[in-house]
Amino acid sequence: MNREASAVPPEAVPVARATGRPAAPAGRLLLLGLLAALLLLGWGLPRWLNFLLTLALAKGLVVLGLVLLMRAGLVSFGQGLFFAAAAYAAAFAIKLWGVREAFLLLPLGMAAAAALAVLTGLLAARYRAIFFAMLTLAFSMVLYGLLIKAYPLTGGSDGLRVAVPTVLGYAPDPQRARVLVYYLAVGAVAAAVSLVRRQAGSCFGYLTQAIRDNEVRVEYLGVPVRRAVLAVYLEGAVLAGAGGVLAALAVGHVDPNLAYWTTSGEFVFIALLGGAEGVLAPLAGAVLYEVVKAYAFKYTPYAWQMVMGLVMLPIILFLPSGLWAPLERRWLRVRE
C-alpha cells in the first residue's frame, strides 16, 4: 500500500496544497466576478444559450459532487442514480400532489437522493476502486430498469412532463420561468461552491484526501473510514439531486435516460474534462462540454459521440489534470 502511495507523481503535491488551503482574497474576487457575470447573463442571452447554460450549471453541480468523491479516491459511475431519482421525485410531486413550488421541489429532490444514498451507500462504502465504480453503475441501472418497466407510474420510456414551476408563489409565464430556473441554478451553484470551498480546507476535506492516501492510517487514527466514505457519498448524492431537479425544471421533462449509464458516464467525462480539483473546474468543464456537444450535434448529428471522443483524447493524453484545473491552480492558489 505504501509503495503505491509513494508512486504519486511529484506535481500532485502542490495540487493538494492549492486545493487544501483557504483561498486568497484574489480567488474570492474572481469568484464574485464570475457570479456577477452569470447574474448579468440572465438578461441578455438568447433562449437556446440560456437553456444550455442552465443545463450546464445543473450538471456542474452533479460533477462537483463527483469530484468530492474523486478526491477521496473513489470514482462513481452511477451518479445518474441520484440525478434521475431527484428529477423523478420532482416530477412525481408535480404530477401526484400538484406541488409546483421550485423551493419545495429542490429540497424534495435532494432528500430523495439522500435517502437513496444512505440505502445504497451502506453497501457501496465497503468497496473501493473498480468494485465501487461497478456497484454504483449497477445501482443506477436498476433504477433505469424500474423507470422503464413501471409504466403506469413513470410513463415508461416516454417519461413524464414537468410543469412550469412557481417560484415563491409567483407563477411566471413559460418564458420568464426559464430565466427564473436559470437564476435558481446560479444560486444553487453559488451556494454549493462556497460550501465546497469551505470544506476543502476543513478537517473533513483533509480527511477525504487522507483516505485516498492511506486508509490503514486513517483507521489507526481512530476514524472509521466507512463512515467518512459514506458521508462523502451522501454529499455527492445531494449535489447530484439538486442538479437533477434543476435539469428537470429546465428541460420540462424527465425520462429514464437520466439514470442510464451514459448519463453517469457524461459526468465522469466532464470531471476529466475540467479536472478533479478546485471548485470551478467541474463547472467550467460542464459549460465547455455542453457547448462542444451542442455544436457537435449541430454539424455532425450522426457522429457527435465520435467528435466528443476526439475532443477527449488529446485532453487525456496531454492534460491529464483537465483543461481548467491548471488555470485554476494558477489563479486561485493560496500564498501565505
Binding site: 502511495a5 509513494s6 473533513f204 480527511l207 487514527l221
Partner: protein, 252 residues
C-alpha cells in the same frame, strides 16, 4: 470511552492483559497461547526471528486481526474483536514497520489530521484544519520529534528516518496510554538508529506512555527496553529484563 473501567489507581492495575492469544494462518502458527501482562510505564522490547509472530502480536492487540482464541483486555476492558478505529480511541496507538503516512499532505498536516482525529472532529466540514490552536499544538508535537524544520515540506520528501519519526508522532498525537511500535528503527542506518531512539524514548517517558517496540537490533533493545519478550513460532519463549533474557554481550 465513558464505559472504560478503571479498577484501581493507575500505576498498580495492569494496562494490557493478553491471555492465551492464538492465531494460525493455514500451517503457519503466528501466535500460540501467548499470555502476557503489561503494567503502566513499562518499556517492552519484542524480539525474535523473522516469522516469529511479532507483527501479528501487534495486529491482534490493535484489532487488525481477530484472534482465533484468547482474550485481550485493556485497562480492564475486553477489547477482543473490536475494530482498530475503536481500539485506538480507547487509548492504544500504533506505528508501522513501513511508515503509513499521508504522502500528498505536508508533514505538519499529517500531524494536524491526527490531532483533529483525537478531538473527534474529522467529520466536521466547517472546522478549518489549520486552526491556530491546532497548528500550534501540531508544531509542538513536531518539535518534540525533531521534525519542526520539515513542517511545511511534503511528507513524501522526508528521508526514511524522518518518516519513521512522523509515523510515530502521528500515533503519539492521539495521546495514547499504550503505544505499539513495529520496528521503529528498521530501514534506518546503523548510526541513525540511536538518534531515532534517543529522540523518541524521552518524549514517550515524559508523556507517561507505556511502550512496546518490535526490534531486531539487540543493542537497541538492551539500551532502551526495561523488559524483553522473545517470540519464536508464535510462542513467548522468554520474558524478563534484558540482562537476564538476552545472551551476554560477547555473543550478541
Amino acid at each position: 470511552m465513558s464505559a472504560g473501567v478503571r479498577m484501581t489507581a493507575p500505576g498498580s492495575a495492569p494496562l494490557l492483559e493478553v491471555e492465551d492469544l492464538t492465531m494460525r494462518f493455514g500451517m503457519v502458527t503466528a501466535a500460540e497461547g501467548e499470555t502476557v501482562t503489561l503494567s503502566p510505564g513499562e518499556f517492552v522490547g519484542i524480539v525474535g526471528p523473522n516469522g516469529a509472530g511479532k507483527t501479528t502480536f501487534l495486529n491482534l492487540v490493535t484489532g487488525y486481526l481477530r484472534p482465533q482464541r484468547g482474550r485481550i483486555r485493556f485497562q480492564g476492558r475486553d477489547i477482543t474483536g473490536m475494530r482498530p478505529a475503536e481500539i485506538v480511541t480507547l487509548g492504544i496507538g500504533r506505528s508501522f514497520q513501513i511508515p503509513q503516512l499521508f504522502l500528498s499532505l505536508t508533514v505538519l498536516e499529517n500531524v494536524l489530521v491526527a490531532l483533529a482525529a483525537a478531538e473527534g472532529r474529522t467529520l466536521r466540514p466547517g472546522d478549518p484544519l489549520h486552526r491556530p490552536e491546532r497548528a500550534r499544538a501540531g508544531l509542538e508535537v513536531l518539535q518534540r520529534f525533531a521534525l519542526a524544520d520539515d513542517a511545511e515540506r511534503p511528507a513524501s520528501a522526508l528521508p526514511e528516518g524522518g518518516r519513521k519519526l512522523l509515523d510515530i508522532a502521528m500515533a503519539f498525537a492521539l495521546r495514547p496510554r499504550l503505544l505499539l511500535m513495529d520496528e521503529p528503527t528498521s530501514g534506518v542506518s546503523a548510526e541513525e538508529k540511536f538518534v531515532v531512539m534517543d529522540t523518541l524514548v524521552p518524549v514517550l517517558r515524559a508523556a507517561g506512555v507505556t511502550a512496546v517496540f518490535v526490534e531486531h537490533d539487540l543493542e537497541v533493545v538492551r539500551r532502551y527496553a526495561g523488559r524483553v519478550l522473545v517470540l519464536d513460532a508464535g510462542r513467548i519463549v522468554a520474558d524478563g529484563p534484558p540482562d537476564a533474557v538476552l545472551a551476554p554481550r560477547s555473543e550478541a
